[in-house]
Amino acid sequence: MSELTHNFDDLLDSVPTPSDATEEHSAYADGRVLRVPLARRWYNGKPFSWLLPFRQHRSLRLDGPGNEVWGMCDGQTTMEAIIDRFSLAHHISFHEARIAVAQYVRVLTRNGLLALVGAAADGEAE
């Protein structure tokens, strides 16, 4: 083991921060629907939009655990704290929770609802 391959410092110190443009569209028993405006391009603006019903938003429906993760992404809580709370709530191990939370965060990030702010960048901003 001269190579210590596993190191999660960057991930655990990062802070998931919701995008300002994200809005909660509707809530239901187990989760909620989030939506974020789509970027305006020349082909989906006027006058084409008068003729064709282009989508203005991208929506994402969260299930129960996804809703929990989203609820903890307040722009201040680190990934480590979110994973810790998630693992306690569901009686799973820290790294099981890490994989599950990271998957949700990846989906939210890919859809432009969330950004992962690194610890170093956060410090510089202050």
């Binding site: 083991m1 001269s2 210590l4 391959t5 596993h6 190191n7 999660f8 410092d9 655990l12 299930d63 129960g64 655990p65 480590e80 693992s87 306690l88 569901h90 009686h91 799973i92 191990s93 820290f94 790294h95 099981e96 929770a97 994989i99 599950a100 998957q103």
Partner: protein
Amino acid sequence: MTDQHRTNDTDAAATEWREVVWMGMRFRTPSDWEIVSHSTRLARGRLVLIDRRRQRLQLSWAHCDSRPDLKRAISDYRDRDRQDDPDCTFANLAGQAGWRGFARSGESDDLTRAGRYLHKRNLWVEMTIAWPAGRDANVERRVLDSFKTVAAPSPTVIEADDVEAMSPTHWRVFGLDIVAPAGWALTAATVKPADVAIEFAAAWDPYRTATVRRLGMIDSWFKGDARGFLQKQAGYDVECRFHSGMWSNFTAALAVSVEPATRFKRLTGRGRTRRDIAWVDERAHALLCATTWSRDADPVEPDEFEIHGYLLR
């Protein structure tokens, strides 16, 4: 230990410890060290454990017909470490029964490297422990001293007559504590978040297989319908006969069904019967499930496996 060696000794008795049993080797580690990489091969493999942030322990094993030159192996490791970090210092391990090795201290993470040869199993075993916050001699001693061998796992192929000479094998990983009957070999372990499946096969009869699963996060998906869960596992188009019973002090649902197979397979006696059992282990906050497949003439009941769950945190 020399003065150059930083130490960060803790009260090992105050740390919570967890037992790991894998491939006939048993040892204890602090309970926040989790397995993130595992091998299912008997001849060569490794088990990697990490704490929250970093790799902490690697146990590796390799089949070795004759006793290796321990001195040479240790000295090779020292030389390699010295190449990586010329200013590092070494201290020999002392007092750890059966282990030979050293503790390295330098610019990068401190490391403890220890090796031993298991004569009866013809196995060379190495344990490497990383100390990101400085070497902790108490934890090091306790981890190394806790290492024991238990019944060796079965090879994947044996003769039926050899089974009598074998012992049941113990496995304790990923929230599952399993005692498999003699002659059953581990064939796969699939680990996903809150979904662990460990597969076994009878080494003398490839038609007898078993899978033990642990499904966590049950509050978010399991509504208490164990029969419905078993039906889904077997397939909605498969006819199941259901029963109920007690298992490990928990109420369990049992299902028996016929594995889908071609008529030719059935006529030639290769069709198999599937037996499932599922129960909620409240102590482990998980749904545990055991499934066996066997030919009708030679049935395997899931209760031939002793299965318990344990809480992962």
